[in-house]
Amino acid sequence: MITHFFNQMPALVVVVPMLAAPLVVLAHRQWAAWLIFVGACWAIFGMAFLLFVEAKIAGQVSYAVGGWAPPFGIQLVIDPFNALVLLLVTGVAALTSLYARASIAAEIVAERGYLVYALLLLCIAGLVGITITGDAFNLFVFLEISSLSSYALIAMGPKRRALLSAFQYLIMGTVGGTFLLIGIGLVFMMTGTLNMADLASRLPPVADTHTVQAALAFIVVGLSLKAALFPLHVWLPNAYTYAPSVVSAFISATATKVAVYAVFRFVFTVFGVDYAFGTLPLGEVLLVLSAIAMIAASLAAIFQTDVKRLLAWSSIAQMGYIVAGFALATPDGISAGLVHLLNHGLIKGALFMAVGALFWRLRGSSINDLAGMGRAMPVTSAAFVVGGLSLIGVPATAGFISKWVLLSALFEAHRYLLVAMLLLASLLSIIYVGRVIEALYFRARPDDVTEHAHGEAPLGMQLATWALIAANIAIGLHATPELGAAQRAAAGLMGGGT
């Protein structure tokens, strides 16, 4: 029985949230819906952890969906690379489930609250599916599941601008998804297979054709859209700003990260390092774009008046960091990119959660709204400060570890210009984080809003926020396990891809 459960775990990670979603809709009542949501999220987090351990021991866990052996059936694969991403997605989901109750109760009309849980579950199922699938077309399907649910989630935001943001995201996301579909179709045309491992072995003989080159271009552009890689980022600031707080927190921590994962899953595993970075100059293009992203988006963040939007712009800059790491295509670079992918998920999740808690209290998230909240909500404000420091990359936080390994990798690859860009961007991040901290602690509360602006956020929100903050600090203080895992993953990608 137990071994049976273990054997089915890769499928269950996807199936549990997917089946929980209709359950939530059936349950309908707020608390019941929430309980199912919490149960499902923590269940898959637990399974993800077990899978992570299993993948670490065995090197790879493979599961044939429906018993159809790959390459004909759909295969789920958990290797050291995506096990980490899976852990991030399910971990953030588990914490989001704690956070969600109070936040949703405050921001969404009561009758529709359960729908948010259902949509979140679908989104989680989609993201988990993207992460662990070993089948190219299956990846597209999961991508669309997560995308469709996130369009709907964003549209549930309290302001009417959420609607247009969601619609624009829908157009962009669909175009991105369709590009991915075209790309997959083109490689399928050349090889007759959709299994990623099988693709990897069948592509080299036909790699010199324009079809395969075009396929790579379509896949990279399509997924870059989802990953908000500069200059395809424009949907992101609005989407994150106007979405409900819990959605911003979850999506910012996971969705773009998973998309980046998917880009590099294709590039490294399917097309291979030598092809994408040796034969074709993909690395150069990505490095240039990520360098621009770091600076331009950081500059934009400085000018924002809304903290959520500020964080959204900072996310775009940070995506530049992540992609820069991967695009180096060296073992150090990949592991640095992966480390920052995880750390940034934790940082941004924590920051958006903290802002959500402030929003819960204030009904607003402009920097002026936050003035003087350091005294009114000390715990939440402290969480924001620690998260902000991590975002800057202050020692003893996860952000510092990222910065360090990224810089090391860039030095190793002799990319001195990028080093300078990264340093400049981290200076810029001081300015925008500093603006928020200044408002929180060194400005007085405006007189007209004192009546309702006191007292901390509910326990669930604080717990989730601080759990992410604690993860940040834990990684900052003891990064060896994370680095080790990232290095194993990088080694797997470099070795397995070619």
Binding site: E144, A155, R161, L164, G177, T178, M189, T305, S366
Partner: protein, 161 residues
Amino acid sequence: MMDFFNDTVAGLFNYWIVFGLMMIGFYTVIAHDNLVKKLIGLNVFQTSVFILYISMGDIRGATAPILIDGQAIYAHPLPQVLILTAIVVGVSTTALGLALIVRIHEAYGAIEEDDVLAADFATQDAEDATEQARSAQARATEPHAPADADDGAEREESRPS
């Protein structure tokens, strides 16, 4: 010349159609302001990809992948299965998009992107102005000279005039 025509134009005519549809769809999404038209453009764009898939599964002289006596050659079934899934995705997207358009129309009274954006910009500008005014006010009311209230100073005021 004829060979070229046969190979590249006539022989690949379905790909040309795919290409044409794709461009038409894309152009519609870019050029039209009306959100419904954008969605239609998106549909055309997606449909072109469906045809691309179907085309690649086709074999000259083959039938549909159904068991028929005496017919040994049939088209590759997998792309068709895939496209069934993709069509589902496309339909869902369209439904969701239309739902959003309905709500946009309720909220803004318009479904032209320019109008909606203009309304958003107006809100945004108003908000920016409010925020700037608030910042300015906060700056003005904040202590410039050190109040030193936090230093607990107990000054006997005796500054010379």
